[in-house]
Amino acid sequence: MNRVSDEVWLRPVREALNEGVESLDAATLSRLNRARQQALAVRRKSPWQRLAWPLAGVSCAALLSVAVVPALRVSEPMADPLSAQTWEWLEDAPDADTADSIRFLLELDGALSS
């Protein structure tokens, strides 16, 4: 059998494929048209319109953080003030070295007890 060239053989194939395209029903063509218009509409939106939702999201997150984070912040424990008795000991100390020793022992005691 003679083998026809690809180009000649493809001619009726293309016609058959085009026939399939031309036989698409009106509902399908309408949906295709709508899909195209929707795709093009995305492009027509201004950059501000496209950024509106992300910007709104960022603003909400910022507001939320301003409102909620301070409420969640745990107050740091205040350092224990020196008790009155400690002050008395420090005042009664005969010299600065003894006062330092007392202060050191108190700090050591505090560290061990915590």
């Binding site: 059998m1 003679n2 083998r3 026809v4 690809d6 053989w9 493809l10 009726p12 194939v13 293309r14 058959a16 494929l17 026939e19 399939g20 395209v21 698409l24 399908t28 063509l29 949906r31 295709l32 899909a35 195209r36 929707q38 795709a39 093009l40 995305v42 492009r43 027509r44």
Partner: protein, 196 residues
């Protein structure tokens, strides 16, 4: 003066956008029907095919509208192909998840069904005579492996050259030639030499 310049620039930008909108509209209108048929050959469902084409159009407009018009066709068909492949992957993973063991086995190679062999149980000659060229062609196209089918449609129907087809398929030019050769051989074998 500055205001006038700004107005002029704005008008120019709007004009350019409208011009490229028109060009994009024309391009999409020229390929959408064939794209739908290509997707339909692959997913065998018109609604799914329409969704795939719409997704592809959206992606092209959003990401590549600013590219030169000559690049739109390979880019669009590349997006379309990747959407079709994703559709197949999603369907396979859904099936795996649902554990349809037997069906998975037969449908995993999605490209082997298509010819209506069980439909009529006729001899190949009788089947060929009973159906129009279009029906026969579509049946054989559905039977081809996905890549062969896409390469064949892009080259023979869409008219893309080897390079553009390779871009659209995301593969090498050699691979395009191989797929096209195999698709042509299979189509000629099943449909015969004389199509008149």
């Amino acid at each position: 003066m500055l205001f006038a310049d700004a107005q002029w620039m704005k008008a120019g930008t709007v004009g350019m956008t409208m011009h490229s909108d028109n060009a994009m509209n024309r391009f999409l209108a020229s390929v959408e029907r064939r794209a739908l048929r290509m997707a339909e050959f692959s997913v065998r469902d018109r609604d799914e095919a329409l969704d795939i084409v719409q997704d592809s159009m959206m992606a092209l407009v959003q990401k590549y509208a600013s590219r030169p018009e000559a690049e739109w066709a390979p880019l669009f068909f590349r997006i379309l192909n990747s959407r079709i492949i994703s559709w197949h992957r999603r369907r396979q993973s859904r099936r795996r998840w649902l554990w349809f063991g037997n069906e998975l086995q037969t449908d995993a190679d999605d490209d082997t069904d298509g010819l209506p062999e069980a439909e009529d149980r006729q001899t190949p000659d009788a089947w060929l005579q009973a159906h129009s060229l279009r029906e026969r062609l579509e049946a054989v196209l559905k039977q081809l492996p996905l890549r062969q089918r896409q390469v064949f449609l892009l080259r023979a129907w869409e008219g893309l050259d080897v390079k553009a087809t390779a871009q659209a398929m995301g593969c090498s030019e050699g691979s395009v030639k191989t797929h096209y050769f195999r698709a042509m051989a299979r189509l000629r074998e099943v449909l015969g030499e004389d199509l008149s």
